[in-house]
Symmetry: C2
Subunit: 234 residues, 2 copies
DNA sequence: CGTCCATTTGAGGTGGATCAACCCTAGTGG
DNA sequence: CCACTAGGGTTGATCCACCTCAAATGGACG
């Protein structure tokens, strides 16, 4: 769904490569839904680990799609508390706003390359093409759907339920059967789940001790029993 | 913004009044954005206190606008835990989905009357009229905006910050200068803020003791110092 | 004027936060 | 190829903000 917004058929111009730009291979998706209609110019760009892509309340000039790597969208509180609203993985569209500004900041979690189009050109096309307008709505509706589920998690789930939920979400979205290679550190996971990094670590250790998951490196995780994990999520 | 989606100019048919139907007087808003274009048939309907409007995962057949009263949208966890995602007050549009089903349930908090249109007819109009399509997107984007702020609250704010935030939100949205008449009980507030009703009550008592707010009945609140409340929100 | 909830208030318990070592391991440079 | 280092991760000990359980109070409505 999200992956249909930006098109590979568009003219991809390599602007920069502040580091390596891994081969663009989003996911198995039928692109061209938009660029099929119009010759929307998409550009590729790369960000290094921890580089800011845009800041909170910054004018929303571009819409992005992750080609490779991973991105975190977050809000900050004065005293340094952070809430990550979403992780964006290859194929995901992010930074799409209906209003004028980005409401969360975005940073590359690891070296990341993105495809981007000018928001203005997208809006222009949407003003003509109802299909495109529909797709913009759908992208935002998907984000809302995720946010609604996440509010339930943040407001009412226990630490173990949150971590189990996180693992299942990543398992589904990283979608590499078997090993799961998490791009983010424990602090990111904590800030996503409304927990501290220590609590995340303890929950993972407990799941490991119960044989529900296996490690091969802190960020290389194998789920050994999705069913039990699902039960723990409530 | 939200209030422009449904139009008073549409044909309002009184279908039922399971109780009284208070005078429709949404807010000061310029309707007709949609019904100006097409003769969308809007219907009025009333729900009694605690009556379900639709359930979670139920097919999304209608889009609603609160005329009078108040509505809570929520998700439940198996063991009875509840997270209220939003309160809908007069003028607010709710129940709009891009997909097939409602992702949260909705109930009247007090006796409530709503205006509603068939989602299918709205979709049909949106398929022709880009303005309407844009408006649907904007409504969903507003909900997402609220959800993003609420994730920050649920994940990272203290009890006092949450309650202060809630009071300021209600003050802004109920928008009756001076007295604020809350339609919802302490449990609803707690389930909205990810707290227990006791914690909400204690925070309100503390704000009262500090002279930041005044009571005349548990749900009749006067904010005496919005600035201090805003500081407490962080 | 009594009944029934909603709300408040109190007392004590606890899940997760905080503070503090310690331990890995990937990356670096010799 | 190996020793060193730094940052990420784990684990332990203690604390505390909020939850839970309980009881008293209040207010709306018959």
């Amino acid at each position: 769904m999200l992956t249909q917004l930006l098109s590979t058929k568009a003219i991809n111009t390599q602007i920069t490569g502040s580091k390596v730009a891994p081969a663009p291979h989003p996911v198995s998706d039928q692109f061209g839904a938009i660029a099929g209609h119009v010759g929307l110019v998409a550009t590729e760009f790369s960000y290094r680990k921890d580089e800011e892509i845009y800041g909170e309340d910054e004018p929303a000039e571009y819409v992005y799609q992750v080609i490779s790597g991973a991105v975190r969208s977050y809000k900050l509180l004065s005293n340094g508390r952070r809430q990550i609203g979403a992780f964006h993985l290859p194929g995901d569209v992010f930074g799409l706003e209906s209003g004028a500004a980005h409401r969360l900041a975005a940073e590359a979690i690891i070296d990341t390359s993105v495809r981007l189009v000018k928001r203005a050109s997208l809006e222009k096309v949407a003003g003509t093409d109802v299909q495109v307008a529909r797709r913009l709505w759908t992208v935002t509706a998907s984000e809302l759907h995720h946010a609604e589920n996440h509010m339930l998690l943040l407001g009412r789930k226990t630490a173990m339920e949150r971590v189990a939920n996180f693992l299942l979400e990543m398992d589904r979205r990283l979608a590499v059967p078997g090993m799961m290679a998490l791009p983010m550190c424990r602090r990111d996971i904590g800030d996503y789940l409304g927990l501290t990094l220590e609590t995340v670590s303890r929950a993972l250790s407990q799941l490991h001790a119960q044989g529900i998951l296996g490690f091969s490196g802190a960020r290389q995780i194998v789920l050994r029993n999705r069913q039990r994990l699902h039960n723990l999520d409530t």
